[in-house]
């Protein structure tokens, strides 16, 4: 495959973004930008998907030594574009309903997704930083999109300040790593590290800084402080996109750096390498994320903390790489894909529950919705059940897969899996709370009732997400194969 073909999803997406900018500048306001945006994202996802299934060489090619053309990159293209496309559809309903529709929103979504895709393909410290900043700048602006809202601005400023700080740490780490190994490309770093020629102290320090910077983007405890505020302040479609697309890119780059750059047995080892650090992060993230979500009264904030908790499960899968290699990587990939559709379903249903003037935010807003609007409550229930990990949904299979990787890794990892399942049992409580309010409570007398909006866009997004939540749970084979083949391009 030629290099041009390999990066065509990126090029196509940029072209679409530029075109949408033009359309927005020259057309009247009634143009269906959401539709165009979502369609272009889905086309890119489809293109990447076709290439993923088709004849991609198993060994990665590198374009201008900064970007990889491999199945892993294509897999993340699909996940990020699907997440972004569904978020754009949700935005199409949400922004119109709440009178917030402006053209730049969709352009920002596209370019943020572009940054995320670059990040997911980056195999050089320079392109990692470039991708990260491209993505983050878009994300900062998106969080602050509702600029008249104090919450949104607060969330965005917090995110921006902490994000810049994290980026600086990451950059510093990159510099140290260059100093330690003399390489900026991950393959070169890998070689030097594996040969034991790197300056050990510098390399360890650099690795720790890289992990800190990326854990921040992922929202892993204790680097999660920005998550609840940014997620709550942002308009809900942005929250959706942040929790799926941006998070997926963070996972991708973490996998690339840790497995692609420090993938030799000594650097990965359970007692000699980065595995215990990731394990520690994983345990803290799962436990704290679930416990904090328990205490929330706002559903949106609960979903924010739940997204922190899910980052923890992903890290468990990542920590298992040292023993079970590509099995663990593919479990992480499957998890992020399953999480993407499940989370879109949950956030999308939350969007659907509110209408102009009364957005559904707290549990109380959901009270009795199952009786009044069963068609809106039903997808919500499926979404939270998938996040909770109930069979037969995508979420269950994802959880099964990462914990399976952990158990196969053996030793102390088994106990981490035990902690993980217990934490997710805690999670059951707050996810069930959604169902309790939807189906088992009636609204209080004096409270204004949130009325679901009518929107074809949101409905379509929910139907798509719901379809895949069930499909990936009932017949997961095909998606597993994709995840496995994507993982194989990184670890043999």
């Amino acid at each position: 495959m030629s290099a041009l073909m390999g990066v065509s999803p990126l090029l196509l997406l940029v072209a679409a973004g530029l075109a949408i900018m033009l359309v927005d500048a020259f057309s009247d306001e009634r143009t269906e930008l959401a539709l165009v945006t979502a369609a272009s994202l889905f086309v890119v996802a489809g293109l990447a998907g076709v290439m993923l299934v088709g004849e991609v060489p198993a060994t990665p090619e590198v374009v201008t030594r900064y970007l990889a053309v491999d199945r892993l990159g294509l897999f993340f293209d699909v996940v990020i574009c699907v997440g972004a496309g569904l978020s754009a559809l949700l935005a199409g309903g949400y922004l119109r309903e709440h009178g917030l529709e402006r053209g730049e929103f969709y352009v920002l979504i596209i370019f943020t997704a572009f940054g995320a895709m670059v990040l997911a393909r980056a195999v050089d410290l320079l392109s990692i930083f470039l991708g990260l900043e491209t993505m983050s700048l878009g994300a900062y602006a998106l969080v602050a999109y509702r600029r008249t809202s104090a919450r949104a601005v607060e969330g965005a400023v917090k995110y921006f300040l902490l994000g810049s700080f994290a980026a600086a740490i990451l950059l510093f780490g990159s510099a140290l790593l260059y100093g330690a190994t003399g390489h900026t490309d991950l393959a070169g770093i890998q070689q030097v590290v594996a040969a034991g020629e790197a300056d050990a102290t510098l390399a360890v320090l650099a690795l720790v800084m890289l992990i800190v910077g990326l854990a921040f983007k992922l929202g892993a405890v204790p680097f999660h402080m920005w998550v609840p505020d940014a997620y709550e302040g942002a308009v809900t479609p942005v929250t959706t996109f942040m929790s799926v697309g941006v998070k997926a890119a963070a996972v991708a780059v973490l996998v690339r750096v840790l497995v692609g750059g420090f993938g030799d047995p000594a650097s990965m080892g359970l007692y000699t390498g980065w595995t215990p650090v990731i394990l520690l992060l994983a345990v803290a993230t799962m436990v704290y994320g679930n416990l904090a979500a328990l205490a929330q009264t706002s559903v949106k904030r609960m979903l924010a903390y739940s997204s922190v908790a899910h980052a923890g499960y992903i890290l468990v899968g990542l920590a298992a790489v040292h023993e079970v290699g590509s099995f663990a990587v593919s479990s992480v990939l499957y998890y992020i894909a399953a999480y993407t559709v499940s989370n879109v379903l949950a956030f999308g249903s939350l969007i659907l529950m509110g209408s102009k003037g009364k957005e559904a935010v707290s549990y109380d807003d959901l009270a009795g919705a199952g009786r009044r609007h069963p068609m809106a409550a039903f997808p919500f229930a499926i979404g939270v059940l998938s996040l909770l990990g109930m069979p037969p949904t995508a979420g269950f299979f994802g959880k099964y897969y990462v914990f399976s990787a952990a158990v196969q890794a053996g030793g102390p990892m088994i106990w981490v899996a035990v902690i993980g399942v217990l934490a997710s049992a805690v999670g059951a409580y707050y996810y069930l709370k959604v169902i309790v309010y939807l189906f088992m409570r009636e609204p209080q007398e004096d409270q204004p009732i949130a009325v679901p909006m009518q929107s074809l866009y949101v409905t379509v997004a929910l139907v798509l997400a719901g379809y895949y939540v069930v499909k990936m749970g009932v017949t997961p084979s095909r998606y597993l194969d994709w995840a496995v083949s994507a993982a194989s391009s990184l670890v043999g």
Binding site: M390, P391, Q408, A417, V421, A425, Y429, I435, V436
Partner: protein, 542 residues
């Protein structure tokens, strides 16, 4: 090619649930009839299953299709003498419970029927699954509909009870998931491929320590479901809050899944641990018998009384199960059916009175025998079955369990404790008579104290129709248990033999390894099916 009976058994509730979901809300009558109709079709199919030849111990109606090939997950179903009657129990009780519900459930008919069909799917699936992954899926699948049935249509504190039920079960089953994963990972290391197939996993022999841990994880999941003391606290809450139909299914079928899990999975897979921990579990069962009986005795709420009586009855079943001989295990399986029938019927009867008086407190009744003679008759018959009067089903089951447990006594070490446990369990039979007859006395005999009770109507046609099949079963099992035992005995014998071989093989191991048990079992002759707790010669001859 044979007909895929079991797949139909699973497909019909699944498809019907979807159809119900698509029917318009207003067509309440259609929804009611359709869902009952689907369940009756299920009953007919399941009765066809009885006709197979169960004289050999293997699985029947086996279907095996790969599901997720790369992980060795398959759709593998089949039944044998151990699960046959539990399947029948499910298909019999489901329509009865749903039909009885239509008397009292008036809101959200559509969702109720949907939940019930999904519940039936989950229960049947768990009974017929021969693949651990598939089993887990069904095991979890039935959690959600039951949660909704309690939480949406239940009593005043329904949300609390529903969430408690869900979380208890969830914690247990998640740990079981980790145990399953460990089992499969160990198997993969030896065999070179993944498999969740029970028969393949059965060839794996693990060293003692992992066996103990894995057995503990499985046992926790199953013990919560049974529920075994001290994990029983969710049960009274769930029962009291659940609507009548939900209580019936919960008591009659869901609890059985815990015991079934022990027989099908935990015991054969981890024989060493099971043999060592089994007496402890049986001891907890005995404690549950007495504790449940005492707790039932002091209840003023009739439904709570029946709920605690369940704890007591399930204790018997645990005792029989871990006695590890033919009598005990056959008795345990039969008693599962018995408990399903009599406790299911008791909950129906409690529902009858609650629908009329909106009270279940013993104090609110008295002298009902004069007002509702038919109701009294039914109640007394079921009561007698529940306390194990000869001639009713309860007697047969309890007798076999106690006999089995008594036969376990002579082995050395722990053996002597079986004698004491049997003794204590037998007093439980007396306590059962005390609390049940005490309740009957307070409700039916004496004068009508409360004027509200004077105008109560007797059983209506719906109620008689739902109770009658259960009454028939009470006497059928009570007077001619051979019909039921003949189907299960070969499987039970094979189970005991197999367990013995596994146990001895398990003791020998230091490293995990694969063993072809089919070969070992052939030619092995357990004396009279009595395995580890071998009786003295004299008893064996008898």
């Amino acid at each position: 090619m044979t007909t895929r009976y079991l797949t139909w058994l699973l497909a019909i509730p699944a498809i019907s649930a979807l159809v119900v979901l698509l029917l318009p809300r207003g067509w309440e009558k259609t929804i009611k009839r359709f869902s009952i109709g689907a369940m009756l079709v299920e009953l007919v199919i399941s009765i066809r299953l009885i006709l197979a030849d169960y004289s050999d111990a293997g699985y029947h109606f086996v279907e095996h299709v790969a599901w997720v090939e790369s992980f060795g997950i398959s759709y593998k179903v089949g039944i044998d003498g151990l699960s046959l009657w539990l399947v029948i129990l499910t298909t019999l009780l489901s329509p009865i419970a749903l039909y009885a519900s239509w008397g009292s459930i008036t809101t959200r008919i559509k969702e109720y029927a949907f939940s019930f069909l999904l519940l039936e799917l989950g229960m049947l699936g768990a009974f017929v699954a021969l693949d651990l992954f598939l089993f887990y899926v069904f095991w979890e699948l039935m959690l959600v509909p039951m949660y909704l049935i309690i939480g949406v249509w239940g009593g005043k504190d329904r949300v609390y009870a529903a969430v408690k039920f869900f979380l208890y079960t969830m914690v247990g089953s998640l740990l079981m998931l980790v145990a399953i994963l460990y089992l499969v990972a160990s198997y993969e290391k030896l065999a070179g491929h993944y498999s969740f197939d029970l028969q393949e996993l059965s060839t794996l022999v693990l060293p003692a320590l992992p066996q103990y841990l894995l057995f503990a994880a499985f046992a926790l999941a199953f013990a919560i479901k049974v529920p075994m003391f001290p994990f029983h606290t969710w049960l009274p809450d769930a029962h009291v809050q659940a609507p009548t139909g939900g209580s019936v299914i919960l008591a009659a079928v869901l609890l059985k899944l815990g015991i079934y899990g022990f027989i099908r999975f935990a015991m054969p897979l981890f024989p060493v641990a099971s043999q060592a921990i089994g007496p402890v579990l049986a001891g907890l069962g005995v404690f549950g018998i007495i504790y449940g009986a005492y707790a039932a005795w002091v209840q003023r709420d009739l439904k709570k009384l029946v709920a605690y009586s369940s704890v007591s009855h399930m204790g018997f079943i645990l005792l029989g199960l871990f006695a590890m001989n033919r009598n005990g295990i056959s008795g345990a399986i039969l008693q599962m059916i018995n408990h399903g029938i009599s406790t299911g019927a008791l909950f129906l009867l409690v529902g009858v009175i609650y629908d009329r008086r909106h009270s279940r407190l013993l104090d609110d009744f008295g002298g009902l025998a004069k007002v509702m003679p038919w109701y009294t008759l039914f109640f007394v018959i079921i009561t007698l079955s529940s306390i194990g009067l000869p001639g009713t089903n309860g007697f047969v089951g309890e007798f076999m369990i106690l006999a089995g447990s008594f036969l376990s006594r002579t082995s050395i070490g722990f053996g002597s404790s079986w004698f004491i446990m049997t003794l204590l369990a037998t007093t439980g039979v007396i306590f059962a008579a005390v609390y049940m007859l005490h309740a009957v006395l307070r409700i039916f005999w004496g004068k009508v104290v409360h004027t509200e009770n004077e105008a109560l109507t007797d059983l209506n046609r719906r109620e008689v129709a739902s109770l009658l099949p259960l009454i028939v079963m009470v006497f059928w099992i009570g007077l001619y248990p051979k019909f039921f035992l003949d189907k299960m005995n070969p499987a039970v014998d094979a189970f005991v033999t197999d367990f013995t071989v596994r146990y001895e093989e398990g003791l020998r191991t230091g490293e995990p390894r694969l063993v072809d048990f089919d070969k070992l079992t052939q030619g092995f002759d357990a004396p009279d099916g009595l395995a580890l707790a071998r009786p003295t010669n004299e008893e064996a001859q008898r």
